[in-house]
């Protein structure tokens, strides 16, 4: 084949240009740490990158949701544990009051303490988490109970507050006022829940000093405690599930982040090697080209 000077020059420009553009691609991978910068670099990697980004961000969101659900349940649990302590104390007092040795004076004193416990129960019914009433169902801006122990609002059985903790995986974070204060029933505005009613009956019995009536209260309080236990077991189970979900989300996050990195991050060691080798090719092509295009017969004619 006949070779002309312009062929040499054109080829040199073409090949040096190609080398330089390959260098540029390695260089940009080095600088960004990513295999691709636009989808056309590798549409498959790009599609996976988009999917994994969504996965990672969803896992992150679910993690914060789980944390929030946990704190909500912690507050609930601490309220429930207070209720437990109150009921425990009330039962002790009931046992004391029902004893035939208790004098009218004693029952009066007990009555005063039980009245205090009752007030505390009402207070607990109005506990808040970050300014929201936790037992009020959906009416989180309204107190559950009036000071006289009647429900201030109605809370239906379907007022569960649901947090999303996974795709199609939800958890109920609240305990409904009626469940706790009305023995698993619903709360109806202005009516009195079973728990408070039992307290009121107990107080009335104490007031009369009738040992039989007082000992009836023991059975009632036992009922209340059973109800409480049921709720606490349920809250505990939810708490457990959240903790397990949290662990799973932690490992999901690591897995997805790893996948994301494997998918789109550059193996820098390999990349640097390739860049180095490309650099050598580039230099060689420059120096070879420079030599070839300079010389012609003109240099040797005198």
């Amino acid at each position: 084949m006949r070779i002309t000077n312009n062929m040499l020059v054109n080829n040199m420009i073409y090949y040096v240009g190609n080398n330089l553009s390959r260098m540029e691609s390695y260089q940009s991978k080095l600088a960004t740490g990513k295999k691709i910068s636009v989808p056309s670099d590798d549409p498959v990697v790009a599609a996976r990158a988009l999917k994994l980004r969504t996965d990672v961000s969803q896992v992150k969101q679910h993690k914060t949701n789980v944390q929030d659900a946990l704190s909500w349940l912690e507050i609930t649990e601490s309220a429930l544990s207070n209720v437990g302590a109150i009921l425990q104390r009330a039962r002790e007092l009931a046992v004391q009051g029902s004893s035939s040795t208790a004098t009218a004076d004693d029952t009066k004193k007990i009555e005063q303490e039980v009245a205090q416990l009752r007030q505390q129960l009402i207070g607990i019914g109005n506990s808040t988490y970050a300014g929201r009433y936790i037992f009020s169902g959906f009416k989180t801006d309204t107190k559950l109970m009036n000071d006289d122990g009647t429900f201030a609002i109605g809370v239906d059985g379907d007022e569960s507050i649901i947090f999303e903790i996974g795709i199609s995986d939800n958890i109920n974070v609240n305990v409904l006022g009626g469940d706790l204060f009305n023995n698993g029933g619903i709360a109806t505005a202005t009516s009195k829940g079973q728990l408070i009613q039992n307290m009121d009956d107990f107080l009335a019995a104490l007031n009369t000093g009738d040992h039989n009536l007082i000992s009836n209260a023991i059975a009632n309080i036992d009922d209340d405690m059973n109800n409480l236990l049921r709720i606490r077991a349920n809250v505990g189970a939810r708490y457990n599930r959240l903790e397990m979900t949290s662990d799973r989300l932690d490992s999901d996050e690591i897995n997805f982040t790893t996948l994301m990195s494997e998918n789109e991050d550059v193996d820098q060691a390999q990349n640097i090697m390739l860049l180095k080798s490309e650099e050598n090719v580039y230099k060689a092509s420059l120096s070879g080209g420079a030599r070839v295009i300079q010389t012609s017969l003109v240099d040797f004619l005198s």
Binding site: M1, R2, I3, T4, N5, N6, M7, N10, N11, Y14, K34, I36, V38, P39, S40, D41, D42, P43, A46, A47, A49, L50, K51, R53, T54, S57, Q58, Q61, T64, N65, D68, A130, G131, R132, S136, G137, F138, K139, T140, D141, E159, I161, I162, F163, E164, I167, S168, N170, E264, S296, L297, V298, L301
Partner: protein
């Protein structure tokens, strides 16, 4: 009997021949870097010999240059034109598609994924604290960000379409200008060649212009023999046709022209007043290749809809964006999704089915569109009194990516973000939870969930762009290879020219020496013989 000064004449011919050759070498060396130049060669022969009467033979009378020809393989030109047309088309597509690709800004930490992600995160936060004004503001702002993202995409695509339209106009005038130059050259070449010469340099110029033209639009260029000239040479006319119709026929030029469309090709996607390319005489032009086809495919390509080119160009992506915002807004606002894929929407729970904080009525739409003066339209104006599913759903065809917006109701009062499904329950998050579930609702689009839809849009653009990059790289290599073969044949080689220079220099020197020798002979004959 011998002519007296025969030897002088032969020597002088030698001088002339060498000089002519040197002239040609000079010209070649001068044009070593002239684009399109093909090297020239002297056609040199021994001049007519003289018969000697007594039968001793024929005596040579020296040499002469009878012609100057260019070294050119015209097959390569034709080959070049046929490859360059596809190179031009895919180069144009490559550049534009990569521009479109960058618009989406994916994969990155600030593209669509992130924006949608942040929007749904804010909804999640709101579900956990539906009374919080701070989070309500956040949701409203993040909604605005989603809308603005689509507005800016659509605006960018529209600007790109206008830009491509301008390029089309420029290319058409470039075609006409090249045409006029070729027409001029046709005249010069024809008259120069009437006497049987070959107009080498003018032909080179013409071929170069055709090379340029072949990159812009599909052409067929031929020299057609139409008869014989009076002197017996062939009467050749140079003809260029575009899709069968003559663009240049010898001395006549039929120009192309752009005309503004009276109605849009893609009614829902195009910007108004785009150009149609046709013949100036009003005939329809079919463009089959070249940069012009690349531009038109990108500008008009709507996968064959409305008679547009069967290519995914700007209108295709605007259509996809419109489809996204319409479907997404419809599902988010109304809960309408075609769950059983029968083409009829089923009613589900949407934003309009819930109550805001302190709200007593439903029917607030989260997303509507920008109306007059680019102000967000309220839900009531948007729905315009429709009450049936079909009627309401139909209103969503008014939304485009360009005018997508958060509704006036929400912008004016973030408390209207409908979290609850019952009046007056501030902690009720049944409705917002339904909205959150939409993110993973795989039945919203044929492609799946919202992110799947956008992923498929972005990926298919990536694949098209990759295809354009590959094809144009292949074509570049082919064109380059043909160019090299042309250079190999027709290019000037300095070494060769220098070697020839020496060759002819020597020949000139030798011829000059012959003159000297002859002079001496005549000196002897005239001055010394018989004196």
């Amino acid at each position: 009997m011998r002519e007296s000064f025969f030897g002088f004449n032969v020597a002088v011919r030698g001088l002339y021949t060498a000089q002519r050759n040197l002239d040609i070498i000079n010209h070649n060396v001068n044009n070593v870097n002239t684009p399109g130049y093909s090297r020239q060669q002297a056609v040199q022969t021994a001049s007519r010999p003289i018969s000697i009467y007594n039968g001793t033979g024929m005596v040579g009378s020296g040499s002469e240059v009878i012609g100057i020809e260019r070294v050119r393989d015209e097959y390569l030109d034709i080959k070049y034109w046929s490859e360059s047309v596809s190179y031009g088309e895919w180069e144009a597509k490559k550049a534009l598609l990569s521009d479109m690709e960058v618009t989406f800004n994916e994969p990155s930490d600030s593209g669509f994924n992130t924006i949608l992600d942040e929007f749904f995160s804010s909804l999640q936060e709101l579900a956990k604290d539906p009374a919080s004004e701070a989070i309500r503001t956040l949701v409203s702002e993040r909604g605005v960000t989603v809308a603005k993202y689509f507005n800016s995409l659509a605006t960018h695509f529209e600007e790109l379409q206008i830009d491509v339209n301008d390029r089309i106009e420029t290319k058409v005038s470039e075609i006409n200008s090249i045409g006029a130059q070729i027409q001029q050259l046709n005249r010069q070449i024809y008259s120069a060649e009437l006497d049987g010469n070959t107009a080498n340099d003018l032909r080179d110029q013409r071929t170069l212009l055709v090379d340029k033209l072949s990159k812009i639009i599909n052409i067929d260029a031929n020299e057609v023999v139409v008869g014989k000239l009076l002197n017996g040479n062939e009467d050749k006319r140079f003809v260029i046709t575009i899709s069968g119709k003559a663009f240049i026929d010898h001395f006549s030029l039929s120009k192309l022209a752009v005309t503004q469309r009276s109605s849009k090709l893609n009614p829902d996607e195009d910007v108004p007043n785009l150009y149609d390319v046709g013949w100036e005489d009003g005939n329809k032009l079919v463009i089959r290749g070249g940069e012009l086809k690349g531009y038109i495919d990108i500008r008009d390509g709507n996968e064959g809809e409305n008679g547009s080119p069967v290519y995914a160009g700007i209108p295709t992506y605007i259509k996809k964006l419109n489809q996204f915002v319409q479907t997404f807004a419809r599902a988010f606002n109304e809960g309408y999704i075609d769950y059983d894929n029968d083409g009829v929407l089923e009613d589900g729970t949407g934003h309009a089915d819930g109550y805001g904080k302190g709200g007593t009525t439903t029917g607030v739409r989260f997303f509507t569109m920008l109306g007059e003066e680019n102000k967000a339209v309220s839900s009531a104006d948007f729905i315009d009194g429709e009450i049936t599913i079909a009627g309401i759903a139909d209103r969503y065809s008014n939304i485009t990516a360009k005018n997508f917006s958060v509704s006036k109701d929400i912008l004016d009062d973030f408390n209207k973000i409908a979290t609850s499904d019952t009046i007056g329950e501030v902690g009720n998050i049944v409705n917002i939870n339904k909205l959150i579930e939409l993110r993973t609702n795989t039945q919203m689009f044929a492609e799946g969930a919202p992110e799947d839809f956008m992923k498929s849009v972005i990926t298919s653009l990536g694949i098209d762009s990759q295809q354009a990059i590959r094809i144009s790289a292949n074509q570049a290599a082919i064109v380059k290879q043909i160019e090299n073969r042309k250079l190999s044949d027709s290019g000037v080689s300095i070494d060769e020219e220098m070697a020839n220079l020496i060759k002819h220099q020597q020949a000139y020197g030798a011829a000059a020496q012959m003159v000297n020798a002859m002079a001496e002979i005549y000196d002897i004959l005239i001055n010394r013989v018989g004196v």
